[in-house]
């Protein structure tokens, strides 16, 4: 950023941003009015923001223009269904809200079944199956075999409809080891995520606000 071009308004806004940042940081000391203020302001702004984007990106171009300017009357049907959401606040007809909900839920559930089956089951089965390619190199073979065994152990761990016998108990215990390594990987990565977010805020404070770093 070239500091020569920063206007007074921009400076004020950056100070506001810095102030709000400290309001939230103050929660680390304890829950306090400054934190509550920033949090409530945020809730309000995010709803106001959603209203604006929803109107400009969807409601106006996709419903109002086609229906009232181009006279595409078929759009009345989704409009009527959509208006049923308001029934939530009118006790006498509040059941009407179930109409759009049923429609949207049914749509979502129906769309998700083949999609989940294809992306998360069939594709993952394909990934899990060992192919003759693994014989190309020793480490291919060993790692593929470990992944294969690990998968079976983990699935066994999450199998509930039979009492565990000696064999399945052993297999399930193997599954726990794989699960723990997997969660450990997530843990390590989550540490990274949290620290990154903190660095991001410090970059804002030190760079944009105080200009200490470039």
């Amino acid at each position: 950023m070239n500091s020569a071009h920063i206007t007074l308004a921009q400076i004020i806004w950056i100070w506001i941003g810095a102030f709000l940042t400290f309001c939230i940081f103050s929660f680390l000391y304890k829950d306090n009015p400054l934190y509550r203020f920033a949090e409530h302001l945020f809730v309000g702004v995010s709803v106001g923001y959603s209203i604006s984007i929803s109107y400009h990106n969807v409601l106006y171009p996709d419903l109002i223009v086609p229906l009232f300017k181009h006279g595409q009357l078929l759009n009345i049907i989704p409009l009527l269904f959509g208006l049923c959401y308001f029934a939530r606040f009118i006790p006498q007809v509040s059941w009407l809200i179930r109409l759009p909900m049923g429609l949207v839920l049914g749509f979502g559930a129906g769309a998700s079944i083949p999609a989940t089956l294809q992306a998360s089951i069939i594709k993952q089965i394909q990934g899990a199956v060992l192919t003759p390619n693994i014989f190309k190199h020793w480490d291919f073979f060993v790692w593929a075999l470990i992944t294969f065994i690990g998968l079976i152990c983990v699935v066994t761990y999450f199998y509930f409809s039979k009492e565990r016998n000696k064999v399945t108990k052993l297999v399930a215990e193997g599954g726990v080891i794989f699960l723990m390594v997997g969660f450990g990987a997530s843990f390590g990565y989550t540490v990274m995520a949290r620290i990154s977010l903190l660095i991001g805020r410090f970059q804002f404070l030190l760079r944009d606000w105080l200009h200490i770093i470039k």
Binding site: G102, S112, C153, G188
Partner: protein, 208 residues
């Protein structure tokens, strides 16, 4: 009627979406296009629920002067000012909405989750214990990934990033794939129950 019609809609659209997946014929595609458009337009109104209950919640708080009602005023003002600026001024480059987004929304939203780093550090010291065999394995794997994924890891040992990579691509993949299978089956079961009206919690009145 208050239950049958919504359930019928749910069943009808659910089955349509499943069957449509297998039929490439233009007839099915045309119907599919219409359904997609309708859903897109209907779901925009779901915003009504969020805005409605939020403003009701806060206006009641203000009216009844429930503890912390002053903050509710802040929220309501936030909604109104942002919405007016956004609706009137548009969403484009350099609009008032964009200024509010960059200077109020971003700082608060980003900082809220950045404070978790502090709690992570304090929990690292005070709570993350290798109290069982499982937790020990977890922490060891976490150490390797934590170091292997950042530059300092390769400064310590060249092997470390490779080991981290191995953990991620071999045992981690096996574990996560097992979890994916479970999640996928669970989601298929839930979707099926919703379509068939076996699971009808969404009709309200608690479960079933």
């Amino acid at each position: 009627m208050q239950r049958t019609i919504p359930l019928a809609l749910c069943l009808g659209f659910g089955i349509f979406m499943i069957i449509q997946f297998f039929i490439p014929h233009p007839v099915s595609n045309a119907a599919y296009d219409i359904v997609l458009k309708w859903i897109r337009l209907i779901t925009i109104f779901a915003l009504v629920l969020g805005v409605g209950s939020l403003s009701m919640h806060h206006t009641t708080k203000i009216r009844r002067k429930i503890t912390g009602w002053q903050y509710s005023i802040v929220t309501i003002i936030g909604v109104i000012v942002t919405a007016v600026i956004g609706l009137v001024g548009g969403v484009g480059r350099g609009s008032g909405l964009q200024v509010i987004f960059q200077n109020i929304f971003i700082p608060v939203n980003a900082t809220m989750f950045s404070i978790l780093a502090f709690y992570m550090a304090s929990a690292a010291y005070r709570a993350f214990r290798a109290r069982t065999k499982e937790a020990t394995i977890l922490l060891i794997a976490a150490f390797i990934v934590m170091l292997g994924m950042v530059p300092i890891g390769s400064a310590i040992s060249k092997r470390l990033p490779e080991l981290a990579e191995w953990i991620l691509t071999v045992p981690n993949t096996a574990a996560k794939r097992g979890i994916i299978f479970g999640l996928a089956l669970g989601s298929i079961a839930t979707s099926l129950k919703i379509i068939l009206g076996i699971e009808r919690g969404w009709l309200g009145g608690g479960r079933q």
